[in-house]
């Protein structure tokens, strides 16, 4: 079983093509300071919300549900650094927003623009800032997803059946494609950021790291996200790479499908050193799922292994190619 704490960090031991770099020893998400709130505080601050209930906490946000105008929505809170509010108070231009705010704005914007039915939708309250008992917070609302995220699902019910993996693959590829049509990559696809509705459909969450490939400065697209879902090229600072594209998301989706199929991460085990993880991601050919799960279909094996190709050119060059491949084996 995979460690609950999946925000695994590594120090990269060597040099890639002459570009030395070091990955933060601790992931920022793991250190995020989560808001501490009560139902009363939330209902008081939002005014028109009732029936507030605690749902979950992620690396960055605390998630609640609440009823607005008769419909239940998810309400997400994150802490913002205090300097932010101060700067705004005295009317000076904020030069660079703290990362948490940049992320939340992106998440809201991405939800609003993304056309895929498999991307979570923005709720009636967009990005807002508030101060509750000395805590500077931001919050926004989303449609409430009745169901459970795949991380919890894996822990409670174990791996998914091949058909569900195929559906998940097709639907998440649709979301990746819609993001890419906006020139964005998600960069944080993993079981904790995908939910399965009670209807059986899957939804992609947490577009906080969704990244505009063009005209983006923050981190230049590298080394942001959850380390153990990184593709090899996300570790590669080589200036010969023109940049990342949706194929890095396809890799992370491949890792997720692998994990949901087998209950194991293809490149990482609890207790692995960071060096071992890095070397696995960049050079280990993963064991095919069928050698772990009896009767697992060979053709789905092939697709997942291909999604885990070490270079983008080994994967799929269009989302439609992957969708076609998955659709061809559905129901076999």
């Amino acid at each position: 079983m995979i460690a609950r704490h999946e925000l695994y960090c590594i120090t990269y031991p060597a040099i890639i093509q002459g570009h030395p770099f070091c990955i933060d020893f601790l992931d920022k998400e793991a250190m995020a300071n989560l808001p501490n709130l009560t139902v009363e505080q939330i209902e008081h601050v939002l005014g028109n919300v009732s029936g507030v209930r605690y749902i979950a906490r992620g690396g960055q946000k605390v998630v609640w549900s609440g009823v607005i105008d008769g419909t239940t929505y998810a309400i997400k809170f994150a802490s913002t650094p205090e300097e932010f509010t101060r700067e705004e108070d005295d009317d000076t231009e904020v030069e660079a927003d703290p990362e948490v705010i940049v992320r939340a704005s992106r998440e809201v914007e991405t939800m609003r623009d993304c056309a895929s039915p498999y991307m979570v939708k923005l709720g009636p309250i967009g990005l807002n800032f508030v101060e509750i008992e000395g805590q500077s917070l931001l919050y926004f609302t989303e449609e409430f997803i009745n169901g459970s995220d795949l991380r919890s699902l894996l822990e409670s019910d174990g791996p998914l059946a091949p058909d569900a993996i195929i559906d998940m693959g097709i639907q998440m590829t649709d979301a990746i494609k819609a993001l890419w049509e906006l020139g964005k990559i998600h960069r944080d696809i993993k079981p904790g950021n995908i939910m399965r509705r009670t209807s059986g459909d899957f939804v992609l969450l947490d577009a906080g790291l969704a990244f505009d490939v063009i005209g983006e400065s923050l981190s230049g697209g590298f080394l942001v996200g959850t380390r153990i879902y990184f593709s090899p090229e996300q570790f590669d600072y080589s200036n010969r790479r023109t940049g990342l594209d949706f194929r890095s998301d396809i890799f992370a989706l491949g890792v997720t499908m692998y994990e949901m199929a087998t209950g194991r991460h293809p490149f990482w085990n609890r207790g692995h050193s960071s060096q071992a993880f890095y070397s696995n991601v960049t050079s280990l050919a993963p064991e095919p799922p069928s050698s772990i799960v009896e009767g697992f279909p060979q053709d789905l094996d092939n697709i997942i292994i291909r999604m885990l190709g070490k270079s983008p050119h080994l994967r799929y060059r269009k989302c439609d190619h992957l969708t076609r491949a998955l659709e061809a084996i559905r129901g076999h």
Binding site: Q17, S311, L314, R317, H321
Partner: protein, 396 residues
């Protein structure tokens, strides 16, 4: 079947012969060797009489060679200008104007594919390779703005040494596979101008890998120019077509052919292309093979073999260079026949053929048949090693 005739100087009826024989299914015209009005008339004739693919290599890359042997290019082709240097490629507008002119020339003539202008790249990170990428990028953009244009092939002319580094190639492939284009037209500039089927094993493996990644994995159409016998492994790795021509300079690409030099030299000696040997050998060698009693094992088993089998011996037959050219197509087409399966099966089949050819060479040498350095079958060792390395790196 997908062999194209690589057109060049002095076509006479060579193209139509290959099309009549059904050894070739298309033509790649060379701008340098034809006046535009003649080209137009010839296209009309072919369209009227044949079902075949007509492509046009604008040979834009000749413009940076100095002094270029560019024949009709300067006066006849408006996108061409002799003596361009890197300075002539600074600025998106300049690049776009080259691209528009080169592509418009082709759309006006209804070629089945459009080829982008390119320059020769010696590696994947030098200045010229960056220019080549800009030309490609700009071509994709311009082409996508056209409504009725036939599909675009991004043209790449790479020096053989560019294939040395696997990591550079990987990074380059990440870029090529990110482009939304129909396909690629790939030409490799050979280091050695001597006609032979040899190819450094690692370079061959990397070239096969490149073709495989583009054609098979990523479903691009890949046409390999100036490929000759090497076209056979390239087809096995997934290329849709390869091209070769009647002169040695149309069978493998060398810069020498595009540089001005003194005339002279001797006419080439007569050759025979043998499918069992995977090589083109000298007619004199075929004579010795015949003397040693092994003729049947070396013949390609194609129509024009009759010229040789009807005579008392190869050298006393009515073999001519025209027949030899035509027979060359027939031989390649025969080899190509078995290559439309999955890549792994093609490659395994080809490895078996290479082993067989190696054995046949050994038998012939043991029987005292003398071969020259470039026809003695050494290339088979390169091929075998290249194919095996390819299988490993492609994890077939």
């Amino acid at each position: 079947m997908a062999i194209y005739v690589q057109h060049g100087h002095g076509k006479s009826d060579k193209i139509t012969n290959a099309l009549d024989d059904k050894s070739a299914s298309g033509v790649i015209f060379a701008a340098r060797n034809e006046k535009v009005d003649k080209l137009d008339r010839y296209i009309t004739t072919l369209r009227e009489n044949y079902e075949c693919d007509l492509l046009f290599d604008p040979q834009f890359y000749v413009s940076t060679l100095i002094p270029a042997n560019d024949r009709y290019l300067p006066d006849e082709y408006r996108y061409y200008e002799a003596g361009r240097t890197a300075k002539d490629f600074i600025g998106a507008r300049k690049i776009a104007s080259y691209v528009n002119d080169t592509i418009n020339f082709q759309t006006e003539r209804g070629f089945d594919r459009i080829m982008s202008p390119t320059v020769i790249a010696n590696g994947f990170s030098d200045r010229w390779s960056q220019i080549a990428l800009q030309l490609a990028d700009s071509s994709i953009e311009y082409h996508s703005s056209l409504t009725d244009a036939t599909p675009l092939l991004v043209s790449l002319v790479l020096s053989e040494g560019a294939l040395d580094s696997r990591s550079d190639l990987d990074a380059f492939l990440d870029i090529l596979t990110s482009w939304d284009v129909h396909g690629y037209y790939i030409t490799v500039v050979r280091d050695d101008a001597t006609y032979s089927q040899s190819f450094y094993e690692d370079r061959l493996a990397h070239l096969l890998y490149m073709v495989y990644i583009l054609a098979d994995r990523n479903e691009f159409e890949v046409v390999c120019g100036y490929s000759d016998f090497i076209g056979i492994p390239l087809r096995a790795a997934g290329a849709s077509a390869f091209a070769t021509g009647w002169y040695q300079s149309l069978r493998q690409f060398h810069q020498k052919a595009f540089l001005k030099r003194k005339n002279g030299g001797q006419p080439p000696r007569l050759r025979y292309s043998s499918s069992p040997l995977l090589n083109s050998i000298m007619l004199g060698e075929l004579e010795s093979i015949s003397d040693a009693g092994y003729l049947d094992q070396v013949l390609s088993d194609v129509d024009l073999d009759s010229i040789i089998t009807d005579a008392t011996s190869p050298e006393s037959s009515a073999w001519t260079s025209q027949i030899s050219d035509r027979h060359h197509w027939q031989t390649l087409a025969k080899l190509d026949q078995d290559l439309s399966g999955p890549v792994r099966r093609n490659i395994m089949g080809l490895i078996a053929d290479v082993r067989q050819a190696t054995g046949l060479y050994a038998t012939l040498k043991a029987a005292g048949v003398p071969f020259e350095r470039n026809t003695d079958g050494q290339h088979l060792f390169d091929w075998l090693a290249g194919l095996q390395t390819f299988i490993r790196i492609a994890a077939l």
